[in-house]
């Protein structure tokens, strides 16, 4: 595939040129961290970051998203009708998304876009987005992407892979969408520069590895009943930090809110850590205690998902949950425990 050289002095000009055809999103530093936001006209993404504090999932799947609206005001033409909210589906491009966050969209896609169910809002937002990723030349010590089917130069979720090479970017064209965005910016200097060496170098810097090979052969109920969950869950606060910061967590909750004569039906991110998660109308919750909730999070990512889709774990190894958990619950350690679990006499299996 083609590699285009983009001189950094042509970066701002190219983005400006392309901005008539794209809404740009990129990492911006605010307070103590970088996060993705829609860039104002002329605003440049700030690439001086290792990874954003929160993942880029909100670009396609916002924490709060209005789906329907209504009005009870009889003076209005459409009163008493639930109407779909109008959305801005104009083409967008996410600049500087890390390969892990981009490949997370492919995992999440299984939930929102599959033969039985297509989520209209997620699908529209996803399809209108071009992912121009930024390779990680210096992965963090807590990233374990290469153990999670991803990598610092992984291209699978991307349309363009940008590699920072000092005074220029090397842009590897991955898809037709990516080619179009580069063309719109007027970047067309093809080069035979090789990014393989940089890729090898970055991969060799990954220092964190997690074994996942035995997960699929474990018996679900044995893992479910394993004795280690009590200890693993003890410190957990049941906050939403891990699930909200995770690029692959997709659960949401639907809420109605009204004010005066109008109202909306929206969806908000949900978290398996929260007391309302899976709470039944009867008041019963099959995941009613801390141990249930913690086990749900890890079993979903590392066992149910593995079994259901046969394509690895529901995690891309970005390491956010490890870095942000206030009590240092570390998915790498839990994964190791699950992967190496052998039921012992005394565990309450079956």
């Amino acid at each position: 595939m083609k590699v285009i050289k983009i001189d950094k002095k042509d970066w701002a000009g190219g983005l400006d040129k392309a901005s008539s055809g794209y809404r740009f999103f990129g990492p911006v530093e605010d307070k103590e961290c970088h996060n993705f936001k829609e860039l104002d006209k002329g605003e440049l993404p700030d690439f001086n970051f290792s990874n954003t504090r929160l993942s880029a999932k909100s670009v396609v799947f916002p924490q709060t998203e209005a789906m329907f609206e209504y009005s009870l005001d009889e003076n209005e033409a459409d009163h008493h009708l639930m109407k779909e909210c109008r959305k801005n589906d104009a083409p967008r491009a996410v600049l500087g998304i890390r390969p892990c966050d981009a490949s997370a969209f492919l995992l999440v896609k299984r939930n929102f876009d599959n033969p039985e169910y297509r989520d209209p809002w997620w699908v529209k937002a996803y399809e209108s987005t071009t992912f121009a990723g930024l390779a990680c030349n210096n992965p963090c010590a807590s990233c374990f992407c290469t153990s999670a089917g991803c990598g610092p130069f992984d291209e699978k979720g991307l349309d363009v892979l940008l590699v920072d090479a000092g005074d220029h970017f090397l842009a590897k064209v991955v898809t037709e969408k990516g080619r179009k965005m580069l063309a719109a910016a007027g970047w067309n200097a093809e080069t035979d520069a090789d990014i393989e060496a940089l890729k090898k170098d970055a991969e060799s810097k990954i220092s964190s590895f997690v074994p996942t090979d035995k997960l699929k052969d474990k018996t679900t109920m044995e893992l479910y009943n394993a004795a280690f969950w009590e200890e693993a869950a003890f410190a957990c606060l049941n906050c939403g930090t891990c699930t909200y910061s995770c690029p692959t967590c997709w659960c949401f909750d639907i809420q109605d809110e009204s004010k005066g004569k109008s109202g909306i039906r929206m969806r908000n991110w949900d978290s398996c850590m929260y007391p309302l998660f899976t709470l039944h109308g009867s008041g019963h919750n099959p995941r009613g205690t801390k141990i249930h909730r913690v086990r749900q999070r890890f079993m979903h990512k590392l066992k149910y998902y593995v079994d259901k889709y046969g394509d690895g774990i529901q995690c891309v190894g970005c390491g956010r949950c490890i870095r942000l958990c206030p009590v240092n619950i570390d998915i790498r350690k839990i994964c190791e425990k699950m992967n190496s679990y052998e039921p012992k006499a005394g565990d309450c299996n079956r």
């Binding site: 605010d30 307070k31 103590e32 961290c33 001086n48 290792s50 504090r53 929160l54 924490q63 709060t64 963090c140 010590a141 807590s142 200890e231 003890f234 410190a235 606060l237 049941n238 906050c239 939403g240 930090t241 909200y244 910061s245 909750d253 809420q255 809110e257 929206m266 908000n268 978290s271 929260y274 007391p275 309302l276 709470l279 490890i322 870095r323 942000l324 206030p326 009590v327 240092n328 619950i329 570390d330 790498r332 350690k333």
Partner: protein, 315 residues
Amino acid sequence: MSNYTDKIREISERLLKEGRVDMVIGFKQGTMPMMNEPCFVKKPEDVSKLVWDSHCGINLANYLTDRKEKIGVIAKGCDSRNIVTHIIENKIKREQLVIIGVPCKGMIDRRKIASMSDAEILSVAEQNGKVIVKTKDAEKRYERTDLLQKNCALCVHRNPVIYDELAADLVEEQKNVDRYADIREIEAMPPDEKWHLFDDLFSACIRCYACRNACPLCYCPTCFVDESRPQWVGKSTDPIDTKTFHFLRAYHCAGRCTDCGACERACPVGINMRLLTRKLEKDCFESFGWEAGLSLDQRPPLDVYKTNDPEDFIK
């Protein structure tokens, strides 16, 4: 700090062996720099898991709520004050506890250390009052006293107020600390500036509730923000709902908060919600001469009725 660890292990082993407790709640070595994980130990042979250093900022009183066992709990000054509050509020019984007091020299501010360097922090160690911070290409040394968590720099109760065992000699308390300089500044602001300050303060909040859940005071079976029948507070990222959560939570902590700093430490986006709880702490101190969790014999000012209460606020 290694002598603290040794002593904690020694006491814990003895308590477990003698059958005086069913479990000891403490910290085990974390997997990330400046992080330890709260844990329990049930067997004497496992006490080597327990560690103590300057990264034990999570408040362990939070792990006692409604437990039925006999528990040995490691408690620095602030934890001990929250344990007192827990006992007063019937969340645990004094007889269930063997409190292993840790005279505290303050916890290290992990955010401050992270913010001082562009490079990833690989390790943080301590030697003779110096903190040694390693990144990939550099090793820097700092005075420990310059790196304390904000609440620890202001702390005037470093020694546990209640304990059965001690992991070290009592430490000297900090004197002449001006706890509320920043709060006075906010009090003096005109309303629109205050408004702006609070808008900005909570603008990055993602409603993850780590602050609430790290707090030993927040033990309600159903928090008002989780109440759904009927629903009291909206669940979206609407800034009004977010601020409603923060202001109400702060008021629920009035006269109970010990400024242990667990909330701010837990926040994934670095919000200083302690500005709210400390304002209420200041008000309680000024109106009632009250500091939370110092004694088992006195109930917090907001849950008692006294005929001689000062009522200066009613004009």
